[in-house]
Every structure is written in C-alpha cells, then in structure tokens.
Amino acid sequence: MTTTMERPTAPSDEERAASLGDGFESAFETVDGVRLHYVSGGSGPLLLLLPGWPQTWWEFRRIMPALAGSRRVVALDLPGMGASDKPEGGYDKKSMARVVAGFIEQLGYERADVAGHDVGSQVAFALAATHPERVERVALLDILHPDESNYEFRMLPHKDMPLFPWWFAFNQVQGLPERLIEGRAHHLIDWVFDTFLPDPEAVSPLDRAVYADAYDSPDAIRGGNGWYQAFPQDIEDLADYDRLTMPVLGMVSGLADGMFAAHMQQTLPQQAADARVVVIPEAGHYFVEEAPDEVIEEFRRFFA
C-alpha cells in the first residue's frame, strides 16, 4: 500500500538456507503423502520450529544459527505453506499435528522440542495434546490454539476493540481470495507488516518479497486460508484435549494493547500444568523478527 520502492527478487529457499551459514540447508520429506519442505542445520536433539501466516520458515532466520550450536534446528513449512505441498484438505490443527508427528519420526527422532508462532503455535499445541509422546517441551509464541474466544471477534468491530483481524473473515471464503490475491500478495504482505510492526524495518523489502512469493499463487492462498477455515473444527477438537503435562513456555507480545498477553496469561495455565508465560510488551506480533535476541535467550533457558 504505502511501499513505493521497487520490490526485490527473493532468492530461492536453497540460497536463503545457505545464507544462514553453519551448514543450514533446504530439504524435503514426504509424510502421509504430503511433501514437506524444511530447513535444517546443526546436530543433536531436535528443535522443531513451526511458522505462521502469512510467513514461512524464513521468519526464524534470525534465531536459527544461534540455537544450532548444540542441537539440530529444523524450521518446517507447514502443510499448505511455502514449498510444502498444498493438499485439498487436512488443515485442521489436529490433522496438521499428525503430519508433523510423522515428520519428527521420519527425521529419526523419538521426541522433539517444538516451538510455534501464530498458526504454527496452534499446530504445536495440537501436536503436544494429541502426540505427547513426541513432544519434550513446547513453546507457544503469541497465539494460542483456537478457542471460543475466536467468536468474540465481530464482523463489525466496536470502536474499543484493539484488533480487527478482518482476514479471519476473508480467509473463510473459498475461491474468491485466490482470485483477488493471485499475483498481488505483496499488497497484503505490506499491509500486514506496515500495520503490525512497531518498526517496519524489522521485516525488510527482501523478507517481504520472500513472504509475498510464498502466498502469491492460488494454491498457496487456498492452503493458507485452509488453516483459518478449520477454526470451527479446531475449537470443537480443543474440548477433547487433556491438560498438557510437558513443560510449556508461552511468549506473547503487546499485540492489541495487551489483549493477547492477558488471554495467554489467563488461558495457558488452564491448558497446561507446567506453563510459564513471558510477555514482551514493547514488541509486536512478529517478535521473532523484531526481538530475536530475547527469543534466543528464552529458548536457551527453556530448552536447556
């Protein structure tokens, strides 16, 4: 919208993986017929990173090298995301979690530490709830699993509502967003980051080109929207989940004047027996990119 500078061309996943150093590379694994793209580096116990909308594995670029010292760090493009397959269905978080559990196994691990952001956090929670034997510890960044509070967001917002996630509504529509956004995802990407980044520079024109490329095709738009279209199913599934017993770290930004932080502080202790919530009040929703050092420090402590 407001960005008038020329848009750079995004390097390939291979080039960007290599740019992280430490032997990071781009690879694929097929699980349950879904070909998944991931970027992997380091060796040791597995730390699996799950990104959110409208992003890809690239949102973890600033924390991956620092965390790869004594462990294997893998950032995965979710089903429907980036270079991963975009199946017709299976975008409820429970089904996505089943694919991620198979992925962990296929990498040769019994268990993994898992961290997810945004939709990735919802998948991480569903994974911990439905495959606790695969999850050592789990970090949930900024967004919790869909619950009844999702329905509190209204089509016409009251003026005192600090956040209006209009895309919750738009992304429900089948067929239309694919046609409207195709080839023009950069408008959407710029709107998202210009709106939600306290410092718009934290996600550069090149980073934005990476994300715009990843959400520019009809299949990619359909896949990403599938995560949103499954919310009612996810909310039903949540009722069947037991309280998590593994260690859980919640990290939450100042998004929506602290509304998300308050929600996480209230809700996460009900959902997990061993939960700690860290608030980063001055950061926005994209704090993995805005405040990577704080995330690295918390992860080193939590996943020690």
Binding site: Y151, F153, A169, R179, Y228
Partner: protein, 303 residues
C-alpha cells in the same frame, strides 16, 4: 454507467429503454449528480439498490410496477454507477438527504420508498428523517443498521451461518481500494453465485453491468464508504423514534432463516406498523430471482 465502462456494456439509456417506457436521467442537487431511471404514471415509487449492484437490480420488477399505474423511479445511490460520490461520508442519513433532494426536485410531495440491502437502510433513514415525504416503506433484506450488527462473528460457527465477509474487508481503511482492483467481473460472479439459488437468474449481461459499475473510478472507495459509516448509522438510529409509516419487510431464507428472523425483530424495534413476508426459494437477490412474487407482495402492500 460511466464513460469508462466496459465497451460491451450497454449504456443506462439503452438499459432503461430495454424495459419499455423507461428513460435514464441525471439530476444535480447541491453539487451531487444522481443517475435515475424513471417510467410509468401515477404515485411515485422510489427503488433503492444495494452493493454490489445498481438500479439494474430492479429491472425485472420495474415494468410490472409501472403497469400498476405508478411512476417508478430507480436510482443509483451516491457513489454507485453513474451517481456522484459524497465528500462528507456515506451515512444513511446523508444518502437519504440526497434521495429527498431528488424526489422533491422532481416536484413530488409524497413517495412510496422501497430499498434492498443498503438501499433499504437508506429508505428507512428517509422515512425517519423526512417522514412527511414518505408514504409507505418496503425494506428488503435489511432494516436500519442497529446494535445487532455488532453480534455477528468474523468466523461463522456453522457453514450455513451468515458470513458477510465484505463488511470486514471494506471496513478497514484503504484495504478494499487495494485488494479490489482490476476487472471486477470475477468478483461480481463469486459474490452473486454464492447468494443465488439459480445463477442463471442474473445473466451474463447483467453481471457485466454490475462489474462495469464497480470498476469505474472511485466505485470501490464509495462502496467502502457505505460500510465504513455503519458505526455512525447505529448511533444515528438511537436518535430516531419508531417510524409510523406502514412498512413491509421482505426477507430471503439466507443464513438458514437468520435474515428473516433478524428482519422481523428489527421491524418490531424500529417500526410502529411493520410486518415481514419471507420470499421462498431465493437468496439475497430476490428482486432478480422471484420478481413476480416480489411485485405481487409490493402491490398488495402498496394498494
């Protein structure tokens, strides 16, 4: 349509003439030009259309209403089709004032007023703000915006639930203007086909008419203005008494009966003398899907 409309799209003059004894005209009051189509003789009946359409949404009911000895006037709302945009916002009160200018400017002292969707909201506002000018009111699919609008969730619980996602899209500053660009025919098709029981009820030509109107310069911005004013409209309603005019509500079964139920409860709150008839076997656009039934209900009410 504006001059920039699709070259295959007939002009408003041609469209009006295709209905028989109707002509397309422009009226300018207080620096705002409105496009209207008028025909027939007798008491005035004003028809007000809605998003994402134009006066053409009434093409199937206009000849029969005119044949019942009425002057039938269908007008593009401010910002719609060839009607000018408004500078000070699109709250229903401001739009109704423009319709009042048009009606009074044509020399009428009384009019029956019927509207569909946003047009219905303007019709109500005209009755509330210019009560003496209005005889009877027909509200199709919507009453005046009220607090109930704040209860609709962004994510519908069930697939059959109402999901007017375009309200959210248009409400965000600058967003619709950014996303809704280029040829609008695919957009019009997707919106209409999601609502129509039988997609052939709105033909290829009709869709071209609506797409041309929506892709004329400033059209999306004006349409966004109709949605961005909703909070103002909801506040304005608090200052209105129940309208005393005989009021007929016409509702589809959209949202598994939600529209019909909501129109009934809204008319009970907003009108002193209102009742609702449900139009079966049709979605939101029943003037185009069940025109004969709509004409019969309207004439039964107006006569």
């Amino acid at each position: 349509m504006s001059e920039s409309a699709h070259h295959l799209t007939p002009s408003d003059q041609d469209l009006a003439a295709s209905l028989g004894a109707f002509t397309s005209r422009l009226a300018v009051h207080r620096h705002v030009r409105l496009r209207y189509v008028i025909g027939g003789e007798g008491p005035l009946l004003v028809l007000l259309p809605s998003w994402p359409e134009t006066w053409w949404t009434f093409r199937k009911v206009m000849p029969a209403l005119a044949a019942a000895r009425r002057t039938v006037l269908a007008v593009d709302l401010p910002g719609m089709g060839a009607s000018d945009p408004l500078r000070g916002g699109y709250d229903r009160k401001a739009m109704a004032a423009r319709i009042r200018d048009l009606v009074v400017g044509l020399g009428y002292r009384k009019a029956d007023v019927a509207g569909h969707g946003i047009g219905a909201q303007v019709a109500f506002s005209l009755a509330a703000n210019s009560g003496d000018l209005v005889d009877r009111v027909v509200l199709m699919e919507s009453a005046h915006p009220d607090e109930e609008l704040y209860t609709l969730p962004l994510v519908p619980r069930r697939e059959v639930d109402l999901h007017p996602w375009w309200v959210a899209l248009h409400w965000v500053p600058d967003l619709a203007e950014t996303v809704l660009r280029g040829p609008m025919r695919p957009f019009v098709d997707l919106v209409l086909d999601a609502e129509l029981v039988d997609p052939t009820n709105v033909a290829d030509l009709d869709r071209e008419v609506y797409a041309a109107a929506l892709q004329s310069p400033g059209a999306v911005s004006a349409a966004a203005g109709w949605f961005r004013s909703l909070a103002t409209d909801i506040r304005d309603l608090e200052g209105y008494d129940q309208i005393p005019h005989p009021t007929l509500g016409l509702a589809s079964w959209a949202g598994d009966g939600t529209v019909s139920r909501r129109l009934k409860s809204a008319l009970a709150r907003q009108t002193r003398d209102g009742s609702v008839v449900t139009i079966p076997d049709s979605g939101h656009f029943f003037p185009e899907e069940r025109p004969r039934l709509v004409v019969a209900e309207m004439l039964n009410f107006l006569e």
